[in-house]
Amino acid sequence: MTEAEAISLFKCLADKSRLQILKSLAAQDMYVERLAERLGLTASTISFHLKKLSDAGAVTAYKNQYYMMYSLNKEIFQTSILELLQQESDEAQKQAQRDADYRQRVIDAFFEYGKLKSIPTQLKKERIVLEVIAEAFEFDRMYSEREVNIMIADYYDDFCTIRRDMVSERLLGRNGMEYWRIKND
């Protein structure tokens, strides 16, 4: 079920009369007039609701002699809400693009000609800045503290603060005087 389909289904279910129709159909397949009689609504109102339920994929219809019978689409109700939440959102790509745009704006604001102008006070922005500096380090290679300091100094004079923050942000690992770049997911 796509996100749009889920929204359409939830909207459709947020109505007492439609829920009553579904409850009736859960018990047995029914035709419009039977549902109207059972729920005390006009046949026309029932048809209106059935059309909405049908569009949302909650019910299906089939012909039985003279009647159009409606039945519950049990398959759709077997989907758990957790499954829906775990599905990739249609918005995911847009969100990723927005994140990338934000990241670029932070980089543009804090770096000038490859040098860090100042350490951002916002943690989120500092994290981005530190990630950029971390890219200078290779994976699977050990660095001495001196090497780390020199590499960071290419970006910013206060290499001690940056080095410490990179370790606390788990961008660099540290064991005594040796450092390495941590692989993050």
Binding site: K16, S47, F48, K51
Partner: protein, 122 residues
């Protein structure tokens, strides 16, 4: 305003109030669509209440002319609703059909009541 007109206007007011009340109750009962249907009904009554006051302005004290004006509008206005209903029917659009049928049923009821009130008092 004569007696028939007063009676008819009071009928329209009662219907509007009752539709609005039902709409409120249905919405409170999480039956939003049915609540909206009541709002549609109320709108139709309101349209014809306006037409009644226009008839008064246009026809002055001529009661027969007023009734004729009103009934003429009650025939004219729903023609687009009928067309819309037929189009929805052709396309199997039960939702639209229902909405148009609410409007058509309401105007039929208004016309019947109009005739009844004028016949009762003449």
């Amino acid at each position: 305003m004569n007696e028939q007109q007063r009676k008819f206007e009071s009928y329209l007011d009662e219907q509007i109030a009752s539709c609005k009340q039902r709409s409120k109750l249905l919405a409170e009962d999480d039956r939003m669509d049915e609540g909206n249907f009541e709002k549609i009904r109320a709108n139709v009554y309101e349209i014809f209440k306006t037409i009644l006051s226009v008839a008064e302005r246009v026809c002055g004290k001529d009661d027969l002319a007023k009734r004729g004006f009103f009934l003429q509008k009650a025939e004219q206005i729903p023609t687009s609703w009928t067309a819309s209903y037929e189009k929805a029917k052709q396309n199997g659009d039960a939702r639209k059909m229902h909405i148009e049928s609410i409007k058509l049923d309401t105007i039929q009821e208004i016309k019947d009541m109009c005739m009844q009130i004028w016949e009762e008092t003449t």
